[in-house]
Symmetry: C2
Subunit: 251 residues, 2 copies
C-alpha cells in the first residue's frame, strides 16, 4: 500500500461561489474525506477505530491556495502522514491536477480519543504503532505550519448565530466544516470579490452543541489578515467560552 493516498474530486457547481471557484469549506471537506479514505485503506480509518472505542479528532487545519479549482474542474487530493507522536499526528495534503499543477497545500493535526472517556489516547497503541509504517518525510508541503493564533482582547463581536440542525454532526457537535463556512461568511460578497482567500487556518479548542449560541469576535492584524475567535454560550453558561480560533489571509 502506497504511503501517499491520492483521491479524485470534482468542483461541484453547487459547491462553487459567485466567482465559480470551489468554496474553501467544501475543499476542506474534501481534504477530510481524503484523510479518512487514506486512513481506512491503511487500517486506521474512523470505522475501524469506532469498533475499538477510538476516534480521530481534528485539532488544526490550514489550507493555503495559489489557485482554487473552478466549477466542474477535476482535481486530486494527495494526502500523507508527515509525523506521528504519542498524542498527535501531522497529516499533509496537496491539491493537484492530473497535469501536475499544484493548486495548493494543506496541513492538519489530529489527536486520537477514547470515545467513552473522551480523553486523548496513545496513537502508537493501535496495532503496535502501525502508523509509523506510513510516515512520509521526503514529500514537501511548502506552507507554514499553523501556529497558535494570537489575539488581543480588543476583537470586536461581529456576529452571533444560533446553532441549527445542519450545524450538528453524528457526534452531536458542531461540524468542523461548518465553523469554516460561518467564519468565511463574516465577509460580504463585495469584499470576497476584491480579496480571494489565500490561506485559512483553524484550531479547534472545544465542542459546541445544539442549543448553544456562537459568538464571532474579529480582529484585523494587518491590512489583509484577520483573526477570528468563536466562543459559545450555553443555557447554563452565559459567559462565552472559546470553541475555536481562525486566521485568514486574503489576497
Amino acid at each position: 500500500m502506497d504511503k501517499i493516498g491520492k483521491y479524485k474530486f470534482i468542483a461541484e457547481p453547487f459547491h462553487c461561489d459567485f466567482s465559480g471557484h470551489l468554496c474553501l469549506g467544501h475543499l476542506g471537506n474534501h481534504l477530510l474525506n481524503a484523510a479518512d479514505f487514506h486512513a481506512t485503506g491503511r487500517g486506521f480509518g474512523m470505522k475501524h477505530l469506532l469498533g475499538i472505542q477510538r476516534a480521530w479528532v481534528l485539532s488544526r487545519l490550514a489550507i493555503e491556495m495559489e489557485e482554487i479549482p473552478q466549477q466542474l474542474e477535476h482535481f486530486n487530493v494527495e494526502t500523507w502522514i508527515e509525523g506521528a507522536m504519542r498524542y498527535f499526528t501531522q497529516r499533509n495534503f496537496a491539491i493537484t491536477s492530473d497535469e501536475g499543477k499544484v493548486y495548493g497545500y494543506g496541513r492538519s493535526v489530529w489527536a486520537m480519543i477514547d470515545t467513552e472517556t473522551r480523553q486523548m489516547t496513545d496513537i502508537f497503541a493501535i496495532d503496535n504503532g502501525a502508523i509509523n509504517d506510513f510516515i512520509v518525510t521526503d514529500k514537501p508541503c511548502p506552507i507554514e505550519k499553523g501556529d497558535r493564533v494570537k489575539m488581543g482582547n480588543d476583537a470586536e463581536l461581529v456576529r452571533t448565530l444560533d446553532i441549527y440542525y445542519h450545524d450538528i454532526d453524528i457526534n452531536g457537535h458542531v461540524n468542523s466544516v461548518k465553523y469554516i463556512e460561518h467564519v468565511i461568511d463574516l465577509w460580504d460578497l463585495p469584499w470576497h470579490k476584491e480579496h480571494p482567500i489565500k490561506r485559512f487556518e483553524i484550531a479547534y479548542v472545544a465542542e459546541a452543541h445544539q442549543g448553544d449560541r456562537l459568538h464571532f469576535y474579529r480582529e484585523q492584524t494587518d491590512p489583509l489578515t484577520y483573526c477570528v475567535r468563536i466562543a459559545k454560550t450555553t443555557h447554563d453558561t452565559p459567559t462565552p467560552t472559546e470553541v475555536c480560533r481562525c486566521k485568514i489571509h486574503f489576497r
Copy 2:
C-alpha cells in the same frame, strides 16, 4: 448511450446529520449533479448550453425517501427524462443501492432560458429536438408529482435571514440547495429526532441576491405536514415578494 444515467455517490461524514443519515440538501445536490452528468453525456449539459447562450433552470424538485443513506454508505442516483415539452422537461431520479434496494425517488421540472434575455426558450430548438431521443416512459417513479403548494395568508413568519457569501452561486443568485437547507433548519434537533423527513418538495418562483433578506413563513396543514413560503425583501423593495415555496412531510 443509455437513456438512463447511473452515478455513484457516497454519504460523506460531514454531509450527514446528528443521526448519521445524509442530509436531504446534500442528497438534493447529488441529484442535481447526476442531472448534469446525464445531460452532459448526452449533449445538453450546462457547459455546452452556456456556449450557445442557454441554461437549464430548476423549477421544481421533490424528493421522497423510504430510507436515507447512512454515513459512508455507497449509493447510486439513476436519472432519466420522463417527458419534454417546449418549455419544460420532467426529469426523474431513483436512489438505489448496488444490491437493488431503492432508498427513494425524486422528480424535477426544468425550464431552459436564454442567458442574455433571461426568458424561457424552446427546448426542442436544441439540436433539432435531440432531447426527444432520450425520453423514457417505461421506468416507474412511484411518487406523486409536485403540485402547486397551496398556502393561506395565515402562515407565520418564523425566521428572517441575511444572505451571506455561501448562499450565492455563480449566477449571483441564492443557490437552489441552500433554500432546502434553510427550510429544514426551521425545525430544531429534538423535532428532527422524532420526525425524519419523508418527502420534501420545493418550487422556485424568483431569484434572490446578495443584500436581500429572506423571510420564512410557515403553516401547518396536518399534524406532520408543513408548507413554507420564502419571500425576499430588497433594499429598494421592502414589501416581501415570494421566491420559493416548499412542502415537507415528516414521519
